[in-house]
Amino acid sequence: MRENSISFRLNGKPIRLDVDGDRTLLWVLRTDLGLTGTKFGCGESLCGACTVVVSKEAVRSCQVPMKAVRGKDVTTIEGLAPNGKLHPLQEAFADTGGLQCGFCTPGMIMNAYALLLKTPKPTRSQIRAGMDDNLCRCAAHHRIVQAIERVSAPA
């Protein structure tokens, strides 16, 4: 195996990249792979705009070196609606208006997605705590919480 070759699963499909293992996942996604749904907001793990899910955990892709995703399962916003059918979280964000400018939205949805993997029926305070490090400058917080509650509420 070549030193710079990194194999992992991206949005459900196996992929192998020849990249420097010290480059960060965020910029490899956005440049080499053209997956621009994952956003840059701060570069220091302080905003959550770059959140993706790696093996069921929400991570800040601006802090994840490529070598750390070797063999892992990476899901980005583009992987949530693979056949054009929206994930219930995406539906809920759209329906409740859990977005304004939409720039924080992919990170918010991915963070919520990982939150619900761990805690399928979170209380409101668990939602707030779990989402607290994702910033939304347009202040759509209210509707974002509603969206997550709508998906996680008992039917």
């Binding site: 440049t31 749904g37 994952t38 759209a94 939409g102 939602i127 707030r128």
Partner: protein, 714 residues
């Protein structure tokens, strides 16, 4: 929800930029029925700033094509305020077509007529009525055509869902598309078109889902940083360590040795470029530079004394009665000095642009609120004719007044010209904080008096650096004087060390904080419930109604503050909209930290086009307002900006989210007023007043950080 391809905010990469000459404009419009209209007061005022070569009597138009689709072309941009939806709703309703048959083309200087920019809650107030009139005009044209086509007088016809039919026989009909096909009818709106009255609304006034939602939840929505032409380079520009500093010497040799790096050092700009943005960042770190940095003149603590010292004469804004007379009648006098430091816009999307030179045209995809002024600035900076620069505005990731200067677009264009490659400039968070045009630090001084009957008889108001917005008097004060000393747009020389500019409701937040805090202090001294005190002192009907509506929802119970319950009230007027807030807070006396538990917001904004959108804006205003109120402040020492990221610039978070309840106070007699800013303006005041009610301590400085609250409690 269906896929909605009809929101065309950012056209995909065209093969080449097109330039536009006046004589070509109408030809370029293509066929169909076209109504040109002028939709902006600010544009009427700013005629002289218009680009030569652009038509000057309209700034937007609407076109009905041969396939029946309706397209609205406007230089306005979508940055989260939702006009992609609300404007389409207006046009759909007036034209009697479904919302789905409307396309929006926005913020593209090659396709849209000149527009000054998107700011100041103006889109709905000024653009909306003109757009509705244009749509109504188009419908009138269609009716005339249909009457000729169906050989029957217009008054026998009805219009519904893109179709004109005989009222007595729906089968005798013709579609808009059939009528528009092969036509080339161009009308300029003359102001005579009759628009619908509120009871006739079908699409307006209904909650409508955002049309850009699907693109935004799937990650497909394109922002300026998402444009990816082949061969593009990512640029990092060398910045000064402090405003006012000068570059003495620079050595880029180490940076240049990194494989693949392109170094530019031209006309004062030093930049490194690479196909990998992180490699460009590494190269930037390898540049050795020496600077002259002037000693700090003042910092974030001494700035307020500085502002007062350079203030000069000031301007009278509003004058009534005589201050000396007011003072004579006063049985108690109050003096307050209220201050607020610099505030950053801090949109989550930093300033970003991609520039590409092709066929003699520089096309720039830019994150901007002002595509047309930016086009001119770029043209000037790179020595191009204006028509050879095209600015395209994709979705903008938040602006709040901060995305107007467009330096990043100029940098990208210069670098694209120098390198011949498409170049992206995307500011880091530290650059965003360094280069932002801050909401100015500002001071308000108020001297006020109460007469023996508990009425305000004196109001002497002076505002430094913030401007007068929302300082207008709506209390019944016989002796009233409002003076301003410098404001953004006409700064006093040497007032600030860095750029300042509009921030969501510029100046209004401090003005309302000051006024409503002072009013509260007077109510407490008079031993009157703060709501009752306000009602006793204003006969303004709209204000009384929003106050009463807020009180009803909140369940306001009369008491003299401080009552130790931690409840507060504040109200204000902004962009023609009246708003009253009531809040409930708790204060941790040991740490000084303030928790806002509940906020009720009642608003009279005239006719409401999209109630759900309006409520979303109100919630957003309240939540964003808690940031300037409790935590947001730019730290600096002289020209050095010490705030570099979100760890030290604390914006509102989920954990600080109160319960927010919104009430729209019906007022269908009034045309739609601003919605994107008003509810933010009383947030500081309502929290300060609730803190006073909880603790008896009054805060005179925003943000009301835990440290400052603790200090005030001593």
């Amino acid at each position: 929800m269906t896929d909605d391809p009809s929101v065309v905010v950012a056209p995909p990469l065209p093969s080449a930029g097109s330039s536009l000459h006046r004589r070509d404009f109408v030809r370029l419009l293509g066929g169909g029925i076209i109504v040109l209209f002028n939709a902006d007061l600010s544009d009427l005022l700013g005629q002289e700033t218009r680009t030569r070569g652009y038509p000057t009597d309209f700034n937007a138009y609407l076109r009905i094509a041969g396939d029946g689709r309706v397209t609205i072309y406007s230089g306005k941009i979508e940055m989260g305020q939702g006009i992609v939806t609300s404007l389409a709703q207006m046009a759909a309703d007036e034209l009697a077509v479904s919302l789905n048959s409307i396309d929006m083309v926005m913020g593209d200087t090659a396709l849209c007529p000149f527009d000054n920019g998107t700011y100041g809650s103006m889109s709905t107030r000024f653009f909306g009525p003109a757009l509705r009139a244009a749509a109504a005009e188009a419908k009138a044209v269609l009716l005339t055509l249909a009457s000729e086509h169906l050989k029957t007088p217009p008054d026998t016809l009805s219009v519904e869902d893109g179709m004109v039919f005989l009222t007595s026989d729906r089968k005798t009909r013709v579609t808009f598309g059939q009528l528009a096909k092969g036509q080339k009818i161009v009308r300029t709106l003359d102001g005579k078109a009759v628009t619908k009255s509120v009871p006739e609304f079908r699409v307006m006034g209904r909650p409508e889902k955002r049309r850009d939602a699907r693109a935004k939840v799937t990650g497909r929505a394109q922002f300026a940083g998402d444009i990816r032409p082949p061969g593009m380079l990512f640029a990092k520009v060398l910045r000064l360590p402090a405003h006012g500093a000068a570059l003495k010497s620079v050595d880029t040799s180490a940076a240049a040795r990194l494989p693949g790096v392109v170094v530019v050092n031209e006309g004062g700009m030093v930049a490194v470029l690479h196909t990998d943005p992180e490699a460009a960042e590494k190269a930037l770190a390898l540049i050795h530079a020496d600077f002259d940095v002037p000693g700090p003149a003042f910092d974030d603590k001494t700035v307020f004394a500085h502002l007062l010292s350079v203030a000069g004469e000031g301007e009278e804004r509003e004058k009534k009665g005589d201050l000396a007379e007011g003072e004579k009648r006063s049985v108690s006098l109050f003096e307050g000095k209220y201050v607020n430091g610099y505030g950053a816009h801090a949109p989550i999307e930093t300033h970003t642009a991609l520039a590409r030179l092709e066929g003699g045209t520089m096309t720039v995809w830019s994150s901007t609120q002002t595509p047309f002024p930016s086009q001119q600035a770029i043209a000037q900076a790179i020595g191009f004719a204006v028509e050879n620069v095209r600015v395209i505005t994709p979705f903008v990731g938040g602006g709040f007044g901060g995305k107007s200067a467009g330096l990043q677009a100029i940098e990208a264009a210069k670098l694209a010209k120098l390198t011949g490659k498409p170049v992206q400039v995307c500011w880091s968070r530290a650059e965003e904080f360094f280069l932002d045009s801050f909401r100015p630090a500002a001071v308000v001084r108020i001297r006020s008096g109460l007469d023996g009957a508990g009425r305000i008889c004196l109001w002497d108001y002076q505002v430094y650096a913030a401007g007068s917005r929302s300082s207008e008097q709506f209390y019944d004060v016989p002796n009233n004087l409002i003076r301003t000393y410098g404001r953004w747009g006409s700064e006093i020389p040497k007032m600030h060390l860095f750029a300042t500019g509009p921030w969501r409701a510029p100046g209004a937040n401090l003005n309302v904080f000051a006024r409503e805090s002072q009013i509260d202090a007077m109510a407490a001294k008079a031993k009157v419930d703060p709501l009752e005190f306000r009602l006793n002192n204003t006969s303004d009907k709209r204000m009384r109604r929003v106050l009463e509506a807020a009180a009803g929802r909140f369940g306001w119970k009369k008491a003299v503050a401080p009552s130790s319950r931690g409840v507060g009230v504040a109200c204000g007027i902004d962009a023609g909209t009246y708003v009253a807030l009531m809040a409930e807070v708790s204060v941790d006396a040991a740490t000084g930290s303030v928790k806002v538990g509940r906020i009720v917001c009642a608003q009279d904004m005239g006719v409401v086009i999209n109630p759900d959108g309006a409520k979303m804006q109100m919630e957003g205003c309240v939540m964003m307002g808690l940031g300037y109120t409790l935590s947001e402040e730019v730290r600096f020492n002289g020209g050095r900006i010490l705030t570099r990221n979100f760890d030290t610039y604390e914006v509102p978070r989920f954990s600080g989210m109160p319960e927010i309840e919104t009430v729209l106070v019906k007022n269908d007699e009034l045309t739609p007023q601003g919605g994107g800013e008003p509810a933010i303006v009383p947030v500081g005041a309502v929290v300060a007043n609730a803190i006073f009610d909880a603790t008896g301590a009054r805060l005179f400085q925003m943000p009301m950080t835990a440290e400052r609250v603790k200090e005030a409690l001593k």
